[in-house]
């Protein structure tokens, strides 16, 4: 069990390390910051005119873009975990009795920080091109909370994938999964416009309730059962990913 118990100080040092490493990985950092912005511009100006959502498309699409960006950014955690395991540095950490939880938590927290920055950037650009959220700070805080929970869940899930993959290239495959999942959801087009069989999936996958919750909070519309579903999905993914990551970490280092 000692491999997995984290001393809080170790986890903090690991977070500092991973934040610094992400800051210095300029290519990845630029991609994770610029890609979401470009995608948003693409949707708003290229496809937006052709999609009827009953309101300004920018208003409809921003929550979806935020989530796409979060999923994509968090997925890069898989690559950093696999890369870390490929070098000898994890072994040194282990001989220094740094637990697996601290090592993984470092990656996860750095991912959350990285993506929080990207989210703020996307929001700023969104406001510049006409996104007008409801002025209600408590709701903004709630939205930030849901987004952070989603980031945390996807980052841990991603870390678990990183432990499963043998090479950084393989780990990168998870990025595609995370990027694909927001498409068959209510992120870019209303679910009602999809064929019935796809609607069933779109309605019941984790991304849709999270997006609906963000929409409700940012645009001050009724949320229904979406927030409860969103939180349940995120917590479920988070807990399962943490357990799976713990098991995989132990198996990977044996």
């Amino acid at each position: 069990m000692s491999e997995l118990t984290a001393r809080p100080a170790d986890a903090l040092v690991m977070v500092g390390r991973c934040v610094r490493l992400s800051r210095r990985n300029v290519d990845a950092l630029l991609t994770s910051l610029l890609l979401p912005v470009i995608l948003m511009l693409l949707f708003v100006y290229l496809f937006g005119g052709a999609i009827d959502t009953g309101s300004a498309y920018v208003t409809y699409v921003v929550p979806g873009v935020l989530l796409l960006c979060a999923g994509f950014g968090a997925a890069s955690t898989a690559v950093s975990v696999t890369t870390d395991l490929a070098t000898g540095v994890i072994e040194r950490f282990r001989t220094m009795d740094v637990g697996g939880t601290a090592i993984l938590a470092g990656h996860v927290v750095a991912s959350v920080v990285r993506n929080a920055v990207a989210t703020v950037l996307v929001l700023a650009v969104a406001v510049a091109i006409g996104f007008r959220p409801a002025v209600d700070p408590p709701r903004w805080l709630a939205a930030a909370g849901v987004l952070l929970l989603f980031l945390l869940a996807v980052s841990w899930l991603s870390a678990a994938f990183g432990l499963l993959a043998r090479t950084p290239e393989a780990a990168n495959g998870f990025t595609f999964l995370a990027m694909f999942l927001p498409y068959p959801s209510s992120a870019f087009v209303p679910v009602e416009t999809m064929p019935t069989w796809l609607r069933g999936f779109a309605d019941h996958q984790p991304v849709t309730p999270v997006i609906e919750t963000l929409r409700a909070l940012l645009l001050d519309t009724p949320a229904g059962s979406a927030p409860a579903h969103a939180v349940a999905w995120c917590l479920g993914i988070l807990v399962i990913s943490m357990v799976v990551a713990a098991v995989l970490f132990r198996r990977r280092i044996a």
Binding site: A9, V13, R17, L21, V89, R92, R94, M96, A254
Partner: protein, 322 residues
């Protein structure tokens, strides 16, 4: 009063990977404060031994203790007294030398300011002050290895494992690393190092354990090993059977080869003038018996090759004969 346990102790250590036996009952003791070299060809089990001792791999059988603590049951305690530096420098390329050391020092439990001081001290000691602010990615092989060694010292370990510390280094960097190991030993740290180079083991170690086929092929001080397995061979051709018999009696069990028909005798020697002269005098005090002599130069590497190329059973007998 109980005597202090040896720094490192393994008893009948066993480990296989996917059906391939890597360690086949290795028993080893490393005295406190000594430098011990594990010498052997690739696949002899050196790295596996070090990984087990450093708590990174669990053995399949047998026991291993560091500072008296079991490496499986008392892993935490073991980790407090050890550190590992290897052939693959375990550092973050994207962090500077100083950042790497400060991070390791913090993980070793030092406060932020103490970590900063410790890093500065180690940078100084390892001659890394100038490149301290540069990312490790820009370091040369020798610099990385020095930084890696510095990183392994942040927690002031009492036992340090060096896994092939000089593999792939140029002669000058190798020299530098040898000096550091010498200093460590001088400061009372127990060093267990693995190497493929006899010269390195000879130069650094108080005792050498030659590993072969997952077990101990020979163990002793460098001079013992040299005496036993001989770096050079002094070959004597005697004038007649009488002088042959006399010389054989005088040299006793040091004779490694005898041929009464050709009147030839051989003994091992370090090849030095003094020793060869002494041996000649001893074998033939009247200076009449020896017709010819030859000193055949065998390098230590040849000895190593002989020792590690014979079948395991023969290797084992060598230990039993000590």
């Amino acid at each position: 009063m109980a005597t202090a346990p040896p720094a490192v102790e393994t008893v009948e250590l066993r480990k296989s990977y996917g059906g391939v036996v890597v360690l086949d009952g290795l028993t080893l003791r490393v005295a406190r404060g000594s430098v011990h070299a594990l010498l052997g060809p690739n696949g002899a089990g050196k790295t596996t031994t070090v990984r087990i001792l450093a708590t990174l791999t669990a053995p399949d059988g047998g026991a291993a203790r560091v500072d008296g603590h079991d490496v499986v049951r008392d892993r935490r305690r073991v980790r407090r007294s050890i550190s590992l530096a290897g052939q693959h420098a375990a550092l973050d390329d994207a962090q500077t030398g100083r950042e790497n050391l400060e991070m390791m020092a913090r993980l070793a439990g030092l406060t932020r300011s103490a970590a900063r001081r410790r890093a500065a001290e180690l940078l100084e000691r390892f001659d890394l002050v100038a490149p301290a602010g540069r990312r490790v990615a820009t370091y040369s092989g020798g610099m990385r290895r020095r930084l890696d060694l510095a990183a392994s010292l942040v927690g002031e370990p009492s036992v340090i494992f060096l896994d092939e510390p000089t593999t792939g280094l140029d002669p000058r960097s190798r020299q530098g690393l040898w000096e550091v190991v010498g200093e460590l030993a001088g400061a009372g740290v127990t060093v267990l190092l693995t190497t493929q180079y006899l010269e390195e083991a000879d130069r650094l170690a108080d005792r050498i354990a030659v590993l072969h086929g997952g077990g101990l092929a020979a163990e002793g001080t460098p001079s013992e090993l040299k005496r036993r397995f001989g770096a050079h061979r002094l070959e004597l051709t005697m004038h007649d059977t009488t002088s042959f018999a006399d010389a054989a009696v005088r040299l006793g069990d040091r004779v490694t080869h005898r041929d009464p028909v050709r009147l030839e005798l051989a003994v091992t020697t370090d090849g030095s003038g003094t020793q060869v002269r002494d041996l000649l005098d001893e074998a033939d005090p009247d200076r009449r018996g020896i017709a010819r002599f030859t000193v055949r130069g065998a390098t230590l590497d040849d000895v190593f090759l002989t020792l590690t190329s014979r079948p395991m059973a023969a290797g084992r007998r060598e230990v039993a004969g000590v």
